[in-house]
Symmetry: C2
Subunit: 197 residues, 2 copies
Amino acid sequence: MTPQRRTRGEARREQIIDEALKAFADNGYRSASIAEIAERCGLSQPGLLHYFPNKAALLAAVLEYRDRLDYDRFGFDRNLRGKAALQKMVQLVEHNEHVPGLVQLFTVVTSEAVTVDHPARDWVVNRYRLLQAYLVKVLEDGIADGEFRPDINTAAHARQIFAMMDGLQLQWLLDPEHVDMPALFRTYIDELIASIS
Amino acid sequence: MTPQRRTRGEARREQIIDEALKAFADNGYRSASIAEIAERCGLSQPGLLHYFPNKAALLAAVLEYRDRLDYDRFGFDRNLRGKAALQKMVQLVEHNEHVPGLVQLFTVVTSEAVTVDHPARDWVVNRYRLLQAYLVKVLEDGIADGEFRPDINTAAHARQIFAMMDGLQLQWLLDPEHVDMPALFRTYIDELIASIS
């Protein structure tokens, strides 16, 4: 949408999503307080609930926003195949180093989602299934193009790639001075490409 | 300690730790309620606080208990070197499949620890540093014994191994029907050993 057509209500929604994202990343979803998010937006609690009827709806909006950012930047570009797609993932991790708040939101909410009755669980499970399907396709394209050996286990490698990405994010968030997340992911992908080529 | 010498107070402490572990795994540390843990133990809240002065002290006891279990089972056996130590880690992951509650506690608390002012942060950061030092040593022993090539990046492989373990745990907790955690970790380690030998 063009800036001209952005209404005051839309600007307010964006502000609320932005503050909610910070609150969920800082405290986790369960401990984040609607009252505090409202206050940071200069709104009363009923004022905020006019835009989002409850905390779960606000979380859904935050996750949708994060997905859109990822999609815009990473693109899950359907034209990328094999090695080129894996190298694009390395670029995504390099980019992630510059958006620690978004990475923290993802790490905190994804892990919190394993707890009982969490409103993000379906989103998280579905997200992994989509990523898994995307990456299996990328690896199969690489086989079809003759880049990768036909006998590789595409399903296993797909899961392992996401696991490595998530695990390195956690170590980096905990100890950024000692963990060079992009370099560690890059060497993993380079060695994987070498071993499956 | 022998069962005979286990006092009523010690039995009570163990019961509280057991219920707290379940509560932290189910809801996360921040959202877990001391009142509810006390109730499950048949104690009043002041009765529980007689054993553990606050929620952070209870978390520390739970993490120490979990570490002791891991140490007893996994052993971080100082006699294991190179390949044998990596294969022992595969056995640990195979074992973890049978203790989902402990895995969930670890995943939930470790990720929650990246949030602001979390009482487990130092424990988690220190744990990764110890594991990192242990695994670098294991890989260096493998080089010294001629099992692994001398030019491998031991620090990077050490971090990647933990990242893979953590990332697969998360996917398995979210979607146990579709994620064969031990098989995925085993193939990762087998391929790693093949590539660094």
